[in-house]
């Protein structure tokens, strides 16, 4: 096995996509037998069920007992057998089925108008339609391949992960401050990306059109394979949401992290890509001249130096009038702004992998990420299923503990899931059920008295 570390030094050989990194895989990857134990002892069924019930599992007369049973789950089994439209009436049905089928992947679909298992009975009438679904976002590192030089494709490392961190911050703040959502769950996708679940009642009931509107609100990425410019910020000013994202997140993420970690100006090929975004010939040839000559400018990092040169030229009084400083923003946005798979967000019936699944390639658990402390999240130290089982073996069986997961590093994730997400969510679900029930009662009283 090759164990030599790859030098990421500024050699000119690093060409996008051509780099082969030896994987430092220990034998702690993924194993179907591990999965059986994971589902047997560690998977947090009860919390999962509580979440997906949204308060409807309670005794309140206003709760909808059929709610959980109308939710579609789908399982991907060993040999890629794909079971869609699984549904369960209660916690134990779900638990038994998952333990028995031991799915490599569990996806969550929408809540339908009727039990998905009985959909064929309603096939003709268009009665079988999705009625509720969390608003979801899927961000995948592969969509950033043209702006990261450390890895490509399925690989991620701590040098490119700040791209995900920036995406979480921008999207989270916007969902909360602009759209007014409160119950937002961020989850590591197990390998190279993150998922976001917005669970407020009004988020779950959004129409496809409204979902598309949110996706469009976020959508900036205008370039495609056949156009040179990747982001084009038009108009005399930026939307307040973009201004906030820029000043609070993107600028800092670019200047204090990605600029140097991705060595964005280190080679001719890389800086030419940036000069391409500036339409003014005199500026680009000026910069090019400076950068081609001084190959070694000693102490300062070449990336920061060149970025400062570019900025001061574009923002200098001479070019101010021509809107040149906008290109500074365009460059930052191109390298940092979140790239969403918007199809996932737009449609109610898109499936998305459930939290606490085990990623079948990496063996890592899809754990929640705390958006308030997402800078501290490290995808390379997320517990793997193998590690959890080892911890379980090593743990002192004498210690009395309600759950097996309490004795592993999964405990922290589950406790976070409960306290930061589930409890506040269920509290507002109960209030919502209560108030809509009261409204109904009031209404029927009124109609009686008339």
């Amino acid at each position: 096995m090759v164990t030599a570390a790859v030098e990421n030094g500024g050699s000119d050989m690093v060409i996008d996509g051509n780099e082969q990194k030896p994987k430092n895989t220990v034998s702690d990857g993924f194993d179907a037998n591990y999965l059986k134990i994971y589902y047997g002892k560690l998977f947090p069924y009860a919390d999962f069920f509580k979440w997906m019930s949204y308060g409807n599992d309670g005794k309140h007369p206003g709760s909808d007992q059929s709610y959980f049973g109308r939710r579609e789950f789908s399982f991907t089994l060993d040999n890629d057998i794909y079971l869609r439209f699984q549904s369960f009436n209660n916690l134990s049905e779900m638990e038994i089925s998952i333990k028995e089928k031991c799915p490599f992947k569990i996806d969550i679909g929408p809540v339908y108008s009727v039990d998905p298992a009985k959909r064929h009975a309603y096939a003709d009438d268009n009665v079988f339609t999705p009625v509720e679904r969390e608003l979801v976002f899927d961000i995948d590192m592969t969509d950033y391949d043209d702006v990261r030089y450390c890895c490509s494709g399925a690989d991620v490392c701590l040098d490119c992960w700040p791209l995900m961190t920036a995406a979480i911050k921008v999207i989270h703040t916007t969902l909360r401050d602009d759209f007014g959502f409160n119950h937002i769950l961020w989850v590591f996708s197990g390998r190279r990306g993150v998922h976001c679940w917005v669970c407020d009642g009004k988020a779950r009931r959004l129409s496809n059109e409204q979902r598309a509107a949110i996706a469009e609100y976020f959508h900036l990425y205008q370039g495609n394979e056949n156009s040179r410019k990747k982001i084009s910020l038009t108009g005399p000013v930026l939307h307040p949401f973009l201004v906030r994202s820029y000043t609070e997140v993107l600028k800092d993420s670019f200047e204090s992290q990605l600029l140097c970690s991705q060595k964005i100006f280190s080679t001719e090929e890389r800086y030419e890509k940036i000069l391409d975004m500036i339409p003014d010939e005199s500026i680009t040839s000026d910069l090019r001249g400076r950068w081609q000559d001084n190959r070694r400018s000693s102490k300062n990092d070449v990336n920061s130096l060149r970025w400062e040169q570019l900025k001061s030229l574009l923002q200098s009084g001479k070019h101010k009038a021509q809107g040149m400083r906008r290109h500074v923003e365009e460059i930052v946005f191109s390298f940092t702004y979140p790239r969403l798979d918007s199809e996932v967000t737009k449609h109610m019936n898109h499936l998305l992998k459930a939290p606490f699944c085990v990623h079948p390639k990496t063996g890592r658990i899809c754990v929640p990420i705390d958006p308030e402390h997402c800078d501290e999240f490290d995808p390379t130290t997320v517990p793997t299923v193998a590690q959890l089982l080892e911890e379980l073996n090593a743990a002192d069986m004498e210690v009395d503990s309600e759950n097996d997961w309490d004795r592993t590093s999964l405990g922290e994730s589950i406790r976070f899931f409960r306290s930061a997400f589930l409890q506040p969510l269920l509290k507002s679900c109960k209030e919502e059920i209560e108030s809509s029930y009261n409204a109904k009662v009031q209404q029927s009283k009124n109609s009686l008295s008339w």
């Binding site: 602009d178 007014g180 205008q222 495609n224 394979e225 005399p236 000013v237 939307h239 201004v243």
Partner: protein, 471 residues
Amino acid sequence: MARFKLHLFSASVPRSVTAMEPYRSHRKSPISTNSTTTLPLYRSAPPLEVRLEDFELYAIDRLRVLKGISDGLSRGKKSEEMEKLVRELLKTNMKHPQASEVVNKDIISHFVLRLVYCRTEDLRKWFLSMETMLFRHRFLSEGPESQKQVFAELGLSYKAISNAEFEAVRDKLVQVARLIGQPAPSSDAIYYKVPWEEVPELVAGRRVFLHKGYAYIAIYQVVSLVATQFRSYLSKALSLTNRKWTSTIREQEKDRLAPIVEALCTSYLGPDYSQPREYADISIKDLDQIAKSSFPLCMRHLFEKLKEDHHLKHGGRMQLGLFLKGVGLKLDDALAFWRAEFSQRVGAERFDKEYAYSIRHNYGKEGKRVDYSPYSCQKVISSSPSVGDHHGCPYRHFSEDNLRAALGKMGVNNRTMEDIMDKVRNRHYQLACTLTFESIHGSTCDAGINHPNQYFIDSQKVLQSKNNSTS
């Protein structure tokens, strides 16, 4: 003479808001010919008797209006241009020698077209978009009094925000106003605060300031709110009409109305390309050749990229896959074709597991089992390809350099090239495509290109007639 009671064929949606009686009959004095300011909301069909020929003629006139709007949109016309276009369309098609009949014609034609366009998802979608667009522009041309009335009739009772609230968010509102090219709001400007869900199009275009779930809309944006309400009402009404059509009307009217209704939608919305017709037998081995000779640039580009990369992302697979279905590629051949390419990149096994499903899905063999239609130009133009994507309309989505290179490769000469670029700059993408067609085939295409499959069929026709004349 045959007459119909219109209201018997319409379904009305139970109203949840208490509004005034929404349908205003033609009580206005018929003297003034300018008094066409009544903007009906089409809440319920009036109890009018309609003559058979009016039933059809009115519907055709309205269809001309809707079709005109649809063409205008796909040519990428801007809002002001659309406004002018709608005004002209209404003037040419919706007038009536008797002033009092204008309103009736408006209402009757609308309800007839509801019957015509209620019957499939695609038809409903088209009708809904075009009627909403029409309503929107008519609303904009109404005076403030009339606008207020419509506002009230739709049950929209929002209060303007207070001065204090305005001052608190003023700099954000100024920013947004500048962004969308409006003058900065003065301190007596009227803004409404509405749940963002009610103005999705303003949110999608980032044309409003959002805060904690509310959108701050300026008085000139009220039209969006109104149009959204109109649209959602009409959408519900169309589903109900559809139910009524399938459950009773179709059977009862199978000799009278049904034939008219069925003929109306096909003859004016253009043909349905989901079923290949004339050149139904295309086999895989011919594909390379016909891609060169008869595919429009958008499909040719996808086809070439697929051959080059042995992969296409979702948007590309949908756009090309459905086009090929329309061209006449059978399901088995389609599977073989995609597998041959993809397996070189991802392996045959992964293809069968991950990609084959969606191809069968396109052919209506999986999932909802809907036989999906190939994308029209309008759909292709309005798509938004991003990194790694190759779908979309090259005339819209390529940079000028790339477009020139691609057209050069197709054999477009220099002079036409400049004409094409001119159309592109003015955002007449379909006209640019039409010019390309004409240049390559050396023949005219009067109807213009509206659909990639139409391009293909027209191209095959030209080539065939050339073959016949030479042999």
